[in-house]
């Protein structure tokens, strides 16, 4: 294997490991917001690394490689919108209100946790 193939494999398996870790996180935690946190992470680090590995190796043709990279780019740039929408829906379902809670405003005013 050449150096570029080794680098592509390192990127590929780093991306796979990141995605699998996020899958374990989604199934491990019970809170919907924690699950959303891990599901969102699965659409950032993993696709970037796997797309880099795919670009270095090639997907059969130049157009195929570009389309594979575009699919990963869609995951990277569009899924934050979906994460935000799901988080808003989850907050509406769990707390019946999307506005900040009094304890959130109090901690912000006092600077607690900084």
């Amino acid at each position: 294997m050449t150096a570029s193939q080794v680098i592509a494999q390192v990127l590929l398996w780093a991306g796979v490991a990141a995605v699998i870790a996020c899958c374990v996180g989604v199934s491990w935690f019970d809170n919907v917001f924690d699950r959303l946190h891990y599901a969102a992470a699965a659409t950032t680090a993993g696709p970037v690394l796997i797309a880099a590995a795919a670009i270095m190796t090639g997907a059969g043709s130049a157009s195929g490689t570009v389309e594979a990279a575009a699919a990963c780019a869609v995951l990277l740039f569009i899924n934050p919108l979906v994460t935000h929408a799901l988080a808003r829906a989850a907050r509406q379902l769990v707390y019946q209100d999307v506005s900040p809670r009094p304890e959130d405003l109090a901690s912000r005013d006092t600077g607690a946790g900084r």
Partner: protein, 85 residues
């Protein structure tokens, strides 16, 4: 050799759908939607790995379509669940 490892990676990513399926089957609907979004991302990455491993030019457009449709579906589900009484 390196391309066959992409096929192995696709199998490993496919196995990641099992915990997502377990969450979708057992948890609340909102948790199930989160798991479905994760499965959509996994499917996209599996198709990308298959495209590289098999050197088939037919897989990348499917991966792109799956990524877009999964995102749109997630937004529809979020809107639907947001309106739930």
């Amino acid at each position: 050799m390196s391309r066959s490892l992409f096929l192995v990676a696709a199998l490993v990513l496919l196995a990641g759908c099992l915990p997502a399926a377990a969450v979708a089957l057992r948890a609340r609907p909102i948790d199930g939607v989160v798991a479905v979004q994760l499965a959509g991302a996994l499917t996209t990455l599996v198709l990308v790995c298959l495209a590289v491993g098999l050197r088939q030019s037919s897989f990348p457009p499917v991966a792109l379509i799956v990524a877009v449709c999964a995102a749109v579906g997630g937004l529809v589900w979020a809107r639907f669940l947001d309106r739930e009484p």
